[in-house]
């Protein structure tokens, strides 16, 4: 997200296995890893960095519930209260008739809500410039970013550690 600022150490790696073991090594030495950028998902990386689990499931449930309630409100109010209509000899408010719409709107709200939630939490959007420590992480390189303000170890120590763990190059970047 765009509210990130400060001084970062950026390690570039060539291989997903190497960066995974590198993350484990620096974590063991007490370094806090800010984030890893990779062209594809790496199994076990979330656990290795120590990221908390995504809350997207909870968001999905909340959006789904909102969708469900919206659909019921819409159908009950329009069909039963504002302008009661008898269709097929059924009561104006007959829940079985409303289930398909309820189902569809629940799914729609869940899907849109999750997608929007994903964009917002990751700071993605039409005019937002995404934060890239190194553009090669969208191609063939793996990038580890370490926030220096959040680490007590000396900058040079971490640089040595990264190089020993297999980093091809390490640079300092201020954002």
């Amino acid at each position: 997200m765009s509210d990130i600022s400060g001084k970062f150490l950026v390690g570039i790696f060539d291989d997903d296995d190497v960066i995974l073991s590198a993350v484990k090594k620096v974590k063991q030495a007490g370094v806090k890893v800010h984030e890893v950028y990779s062209p594809f998902a790496i199994h076990g990386m979330d656990d290795a960095i120590g990221h908390p689990r995504t809350k997207i499931g909870i968001a999905a449930f909340i959006f789904g519930t909102i969708g469900c309630l919206c659909a019921l409100t819409l159908t009950i109010w329009t069909m039963g209260i504002d302008w009661p209509m008898v269709i097929g000899g059924k009561d104006p408010i007959s829940i079985p008739n409303f289930i398909p719409i309820t189902f569809e709107l629940t799914v729609l709200f869940t899907a849109f809500g999750m997608t929007l939630g994903f964009f917002v939490t990751n700071g993605l959007g039409p005019s937002v410039k995404p934060l890239l420590f190194d553009p090669r992480c969208t191609d063939n390189k793996f990038v580890m970013a370490i926030d220096l303000a959040k680490n007590k170890l000396a900058e040079s120590d971490i640089i040595t550690m990264l190089k020993n763990a297999g980093a091809e190059e390490v640079s300092v970047k201020s954002i």
Binding site: H43, G44, D46, T54, G57, F61, G88, G89, K90, P96, N97, I99, P100
Partner: protein, 454 residues
């Protein structure tokens, strides 16, 4: 995740042991079941006179309802009378229970083959380490098949109203134009041929795929894997047709006049999720007894997803069938729900809602969270709910059309389920002893061992 599997080889050699204690328990279970059925049959035969009177009263009530609906339709006046023309005898409830449990356990068994077949077709890797469990389930098919064919011949008109020849005879007062119109499909000869064909095809194809799987354990290579894909796919083609026709034959013909275009899917959905729940429960149970050490939380999570998703799928089909009939409001179709809602003194109304609760509301809310799919205790509860729920589903489909007002839950119901369950578990356990619990030479084994989902 490699660190979790630094020594994978020792844990792969797992021979299942069918202990004598377990055998004894199953035998006791079966004996208790038999005793319950005998007790129930005795009680039914004693209460027969009293219940028959009640039945007549109820049937009369039902006839009135039928009559009103039929008159509204204009041309189905004969339907109500023909549909319940036979006198009730208590033995009908035994036959109905035998049929119900056979249909239910046939479904659970054949789903084992269904599961391995679509996993082969999709070239799925994750399911390999527990593949021996679904693979063990279809061995029970000959048992249920034999019982069903026998029940058909022994119970005759008691269970299957349409087998009465007079219905097809224009000169007879019992002539029924609706049933007569179904004659080309619904006649005793073709029915028996179909029934034998289903079981033969399902069993033979399973036998072949099972054979390849066992041979793969011995010789390795990918030949057996490729053959399994071929024959598994052949099974899917066969099952695509036979699952629907079997659903019509086994369940829908009981309400002979009535039909639903959703019925094939509906029954398949019911069988499928019940089979998946049985499979998951078996895997959990094996794991808790120290087997299947390589099954990890990710496998459990995916199995939980299967149970969750197909519970919703079943509900989707169940509701679609209901909605079409509810919306169209045609008397000859709504009679099906009327019987279950308010017919026969309302005895089917409770199970009708229990069905929806156990098969949709409960597993839906319980299995929605990620953690509950990864916690074996919770998954176990959900599986039991689904297994019991789908018994209710079939009970609700079979009982009103056979025993009508005389339906209920008594010693016969509990006993019969106990007998079938013990026999099924015996069959599965016996199959599990025949091979290593992990298919050691399966080409996708590595992938399955490292299965890891977020």
């Amino acid at each position: 995740m490699a660190s979790h599997h630094d020594h994978p080889l020792p844990t792969l050699e797992e021979r299942y042991e069918f202990t004598s204690e377990s055998k004894r328990n199953l035998l006791i279970g079966g004996a208790v079941g038999l005793a319950l059925v005998a007790l129930g049959a005795y009680l039914l035969s004693q209460g027969g006179g009293h219940e028959a009177q009640e039945a007549v009263a109820h049937a009369a009530g039902a006839h009135e309802a039928h009559g009103a609906a039929a008159h509204a339709a204009g041309e189905h006046a004969s339907e109500a009378h023909a549909g319940h023309g036979h006198a009730y005898h208590w033995s009908k409830r035994l036959w109905a229970n035998l049929w119900l449990n056979s249909v239910y356990f046939t479904g659970i068994s054949v789903i084992g083959m269904f599961f391995i077949s679509y996993n082969y077709l999709a070239q799925a890797g994750w399911s390999v380490i527990f593949k021996r469990i679904p693979e063990a389930m279809p061995a029970f098919l000959p048992v249920t098949g034999t019982i069903m064919v026998a029940t058909y011949f022994l119970a005759g008109h008691d269970m299957f109203h349409w087998t009465n020849e007079a219905l097809f005879d224009k000169a007879s007062p019992e002539y029924d134009p609706i049933i007569a119109g179904k004659r080309p499909f619904l006649n005793p000869t073709f029915y028996v041929i179909r029934m034998v064909l289903y079981f033969t095809l399902w069993y033979m194809l399973w036998k072949m795929v099972r054979g390849f799987s066992l041979e793969e354990d011995r010789v390795g290579g990918v030949d057996n894997y490729e053959k399994s894909i071929k024959f598994g796919t052949a099974f899917l083609v066969v099952f695509a047709v036979t699952s629907s026709t079997a659903a019509w034959d086994f369940v829908m013909t009981i309400d002979t006049h009535w039909f639903s275009t959703m019925f094939g899917w509906y029954t398949l959905a019911s069988w499928h999720v019940a089979g998946l729940a049985t499979m998951t429960l078996t895997i959990i149970s094996l794991k808790q007894h120290g087997y299947l050490k390589s099954v990890n939380e990710s496998h459990m999570h995916d199995l939980g997803k299967f149970c969750f998703a197909f519970s919703i799928f079943w509900t989707y089909v169940w509701f679609s069938q209901f909605l079409l009939i509810y919306y169209a409001n045609l008397p000859e179709e709504t009679i099906y729900y009327k019987e279950r809602f308010s017919g026969y003194g309302g005895i089917y109304k409770g199970p009708f809602f229990i069905n929806i609760f156990l098969n949709f509301v409960f597993p839906f809310l319980l299995l929605m969270a990620r953690d509950s799919k990864r916690t074996m205790g919770v998954l176990k509860v959900a599986c039991w709910a689904i297994i019991i729920g789908h018994y209710f589903d079939f009970w609700n489909n079979i009982m009103p059309g056979t025993v009508g007002a005389n339906g209920g839950f008594g010693p016969v119901e509990f006993g019969m389920v106990l007998i079938f369950a013990c026999a099924f578990i015996w069959s599965v356990k016996h199959q599990l002893t025949k091979a290593n619990l992990v298919p050691v030479n399966h080409p996708m084994l590595e992938e399955s061992l490292h299965h890891d989902i977020v």
